[in-house]
């Protein structure tokens, strides 16, 4: 970074000056274009992204730029449901709209219940095909299934 160059100095030809100015502008644009203030803001307490609640309006940005949009109650439910369902047993996850289908929450349930094969969403495969059903904010019932746990707004049912 040390330089022998002494300033101010005699300018070279015009073309050289123009090319240097263009190069400086482009270099500054490169730095400015890549700059991410979010990363520097995290160096200051509380070392976390500012609280922005709710699901993102677009998936174009990384989700961790904002708070986890999944309801806290659902997260706790999935963690607790995992404890009720032994590894290797199949499970169907019943969720209300807008969390139903191949939703973000469906895949989250797959992850939280890893080790326990999660069937395709109820719209595709009937929950009664599973050994267990994890139903959240749903009154799903079936005479072949008994409730084995209730809590966090949901219940876990086991095939008799």
């Amino acid at each position: 970074m040390r330089s022998h160059v002494e300033w101010p100095i005699v300018y070279g030809d015009v073309a050289g000056r123009v090319s240097r100015i263009v190069a400086v502008i482009l270099f500054v644009l490169l730095i400015a274009g890549g700059f991410r203030f979010e990363l520097l803001r995290l160096l200051i307490p509380p070392y976390r992204m500012p609280p922005v609640e709710g699901p993102p309006s677009s998936l174009r940005q990384p989700l961790r730029l904002r708070n986890d949009g999944t309801p806290e109650q659902l997260r706790v439910f999935l963690t607790m449901a995992r404890l009720q369902i032994p590894p290797g047993r199949t499970v169907s996850v019943v969720l209300p709209a807008p969390h139903d289908g191949f939703s973000y929450e469906y895949w989250r349930a797959n992850y939280e219940l890893s080790g326990r094969p999660v069937l395709l969403p109820p719209q595709v495969m009937h929950p009664a095909n599973a050994d267990y059903v994890a139903a959240w904010k749903s009154d799903w019932s079936n005479p072949l299934f008994d409730v084995v746990w209730r809590g966090s707004g949901g219940m876990v049912l086991k095939r008799r």
């Binding site: 240097r20 979010e38 174009r60």
Partner: protein, 426 residues
């Protein structure tokens, strides 16, 4: 767990240093640290894979014992190597210390970003984290899960295996600390770029590479394919073929775009008339071969290349205005505008001085657009949800290319102003 993970990843770096020196005796300085971490993590991932192939249940004992042969061979080769070539660089002084500090701040910020909460990207739950956590429960790769899972069974496993490595070492599954893998990978690319820019005589150019290298998609494989891919490109640009090729192999182990990158590099080497170097890329194929064999043996389906891929491409190419409108609807980012401006203004220099790197990056970028055109999914949403991430895989290499194209004008300008015939040292 965070501090323990930092220590663990530092050990991974130490493990990779002799491997890096074995592959290139001239790699040193910050590039050695960066390459060491990338190679260390790549080899740890391979080791986890082969332990599962052999039916050995994952444990720290098995991992350490499995790492020993590689470490012994690499250390032996390193000790017998002639000393590295002398390199004339000036990297000391207050200005460089200041530059290092400026570079370190966003990296530390990325460390906070990667760990401020658990990983919760959609594809972390649907692909990368799901596989990793399932394998962790299983004590190794569950081949039946790989086959029957509907979450992209053809995707390579290095990233899930690295998650598992951290979990096995920590003795439990803890999401927050997993994000640090990506911070280390991003930092590795920055260290490599920094060392090479010092060689070029333009250390301050690292400032343009730092932020593009700090990949924000923590939890997905983007950061890994970016780190391995861009590091591989930079080493190959410098002529370090074995090291660059192995890194490209690990890029292919990270995500399918890494496999495409190997093809792009072959094309670029041929266009740059580096025929022999194209052949010397064989280690990349050797590294990825186990996964390609696994894919073939398990007949893992890919949802991308099916019988109608050409039909879809032709249909969309036949309607160019609609296709262009979809791509044009992507938001313009200042960084990419700056890169495009550099490539246009310095097109001659790019072709004469940086033909390999320019061609490799442009070909790979065209492949990103091609995958959008070929997608089986709905065209517009697919492009919108992939073209925000895929170009980031190449961002640090594009930034590096732009810097090395621009900087001679900065230096020459300074030289003219000084009336000197030698460029000022950095």
């Amino acid at each position: 767990m965070i501090a323990a993970t930092i220590l663990l990843l530092a050990v991974v770096c130490l493990y990779g240093v002799p491997i890096a020196r074995t592959l290139d005796r001239n790699v040193r300085g910050s590039a050695l640290i960066g390459a060491g971490f990338l190679l260390g993590s790549g080899f740890v991932g391979l080791e986890m894979f082969f332990l599962s192939v052999l039916g050995v249940r994952w444990s720290m004992t098995a991992i350490v014992l499995g790492a020993l042969p590689v470490l012994v061979v690499a250390s032996g080769v390193w000790r017998r190597q002639p000393p590295p070539l002398h390199r004339e660089t000036r990297s000391g002084g207050f200005a460089n210390a200041l530059l290092n500090g400026v570079i370190a701040l966003p990296i530390i910020g990325h460390g906070f970003y990667a760990t401020w909460t658990g990983l919760h990207e959609w594809d972390f739950f649907g692909i990368w984290g799901l596989k990793a956590r399932w394998f962790f429960e299983h004590g190794g790769i569950d081949w039946s899960f790989v086959q029957r899972s509907i979450s992209h069974p053809d995707y390579p496993l290095l990233v899930p295996l690295l998650y598992d490595f951290v979990a096995v070492a920590g003795g439990r599954w803890e999401e927050r600390s997993l994000g640090l893998i990506f911070t280390f990978m991003c930092a590795a690319v920055i260290l490599i770029a920094r060392d090479m820019l010092i060689e070029e005589g333009f250390a301050i150019g690292t400032l343009a590479v730092v932020f593009p290298a700090l990949n924000m998609w923590v939890g997905l494989a983007e950061g890994a394919v970016m780190a391995f891919g861009c590091a591989g490109l930079l080493f190959i640009r410098r002529g370090s073929m074995a090291l660059g090729a192995v890194l490209l192999g690990f890029a292919a182990w990270s995500k399918n775009e890494g496999l495409a990158l190997i093809g792009a590099v072959v094309v670029a080497l041929v266009i740059a008339r580096r025929w022999r170097d194209a052949i010397r890329l064989w280690p990349a194929l050797a590294v990825i071969a186990p996964w390609l064999i696994t894919r073939a043996v398990l007949a893992l389906p890919t949802d991308f290349v099916d019988g109608r891929v050409f039909h879809r491409m032709l249909t969309r190419i036949a309607d160019p205005w609609t296709t262009l409108r979809v791509f044009a609807s992507l938001p313009a980012e200042l960084f990419w505008i700056a890169v495009a401006l550099v490539l246009v203004i310095y097109v001659r220099a790019a072709w004469t001085r940086e033909r390999f790197l320019t061609t490799a990056l442009v070909v790979q970028m065209l492949l990103f657009f091609a995958q959008g055109i070929a997608t089986r999914a709905e065209f517009r949403p697919h492009v919108s949800l992939t073209m925000n991430r895929l170009p980031q895989q190449l961002a640090p290499a594009f930034a590096f290319l732009a810097v090395v194209l621009v900087f001679p004008d900065l230096i020459v300008g300074a030289r003219r102003r000084a009336g000197s015939t030698t460029p000022p040292p950095n």
